[in-house]
Symmetry: C2
Subunit: 122 residues, 2 copies
DNA sequence: TATACATATGATTATGTGTTCATGTATTAA
DNA sequence: TTAATACATGAACACATAATCATATGTATA
């Protein structure tokens, strides 16, 4: 309990407007996906061309397993999508999702979570 | 080295267009700040009112130290700014930075890093 | 079918991150 | 100046995460 001053009303109203924990966690999870330079680099690369795992592995100078693990995270976030061609699996950006997430990432996620987030300020 | 097919040219050109590691790491660092639900919640709260540490601590039902540590990260990212009033330190969103980061978060960071990121698609 | 290639995935390990505890610093008031 | 309040910060610990290794799955080809 804070004693620094009486702001029970203010805190109460903010508390009511606060999205529930699940929503907050989900917002954070979405951002977490972009919070790794390996994944950022993969997104950059796929921005320019559809690439298979071996290409990405070579490009990033990381072993194939590491790339596959990261692609799994990107797939789960619907940021990339796979396309099999024979033995290879080509990855490309899932445009629909990446543009909406990148564009709306914050405003939408935050707003959808029920905040008073000011869209116009964006 | 990949043998799945010959794409040396493609990989080479993507490699050249790729921002350097420092830039990629910096992009990821920026997103990392939003990748924690406690920080998201603090941002939500400060979206509605300027609050001191005790208020945030009470609101989030977390001890004061945890809040201070998180505020330090948000300060370092220029997302919030402190204002001392007597014994209390009131935090508010650093509008200038938060709007630019939220709005441009991706496009600016990525573009500034030298990619061919398609701004119009945003 | 057997073999090789491309990718995925479970286990392990190293490193990073968030919270707590203890303590330090700054400000106010007695 | 001393005590109390508000906040910050370093250390320790628990937990999450990313890379690696080993291995499994899926596909093409001999």
């Amino acid at each position: 309990m804070s004693n620094c001053c009486d702001a029970a009303d203010l805190i109460g109203s903010i508390e009511k407007a606060m999205p529930d924990d699940d929503a907050l966690i989900s917002v954070a999870e979405n951002f977490k996906v972009f919070g790794d330079s390996t994944r950022i680099k993969i997104i950059f690369a796929l921005e320019q061309a559809e690439l298979c795992v071996s290409h990405l592995s070579e490009l990033m100078k990381m072993n194939q397993s590491a790339i596959s693990h990261q692609l799994r995270i990107l797939r789960a976030a619907k940021l990339v999508k796979p396309r099999r061609d024979g033995k290879n699996i080509y990855y490309s950006l899932d445009d629909e999702h990446i543009s909406s997430i990148i564009r709306l990432g914050l405003e939408h996620a935050l707003e959808a979570a029920g905040s008073n987030y000011n869209e116009e300020a964006l």
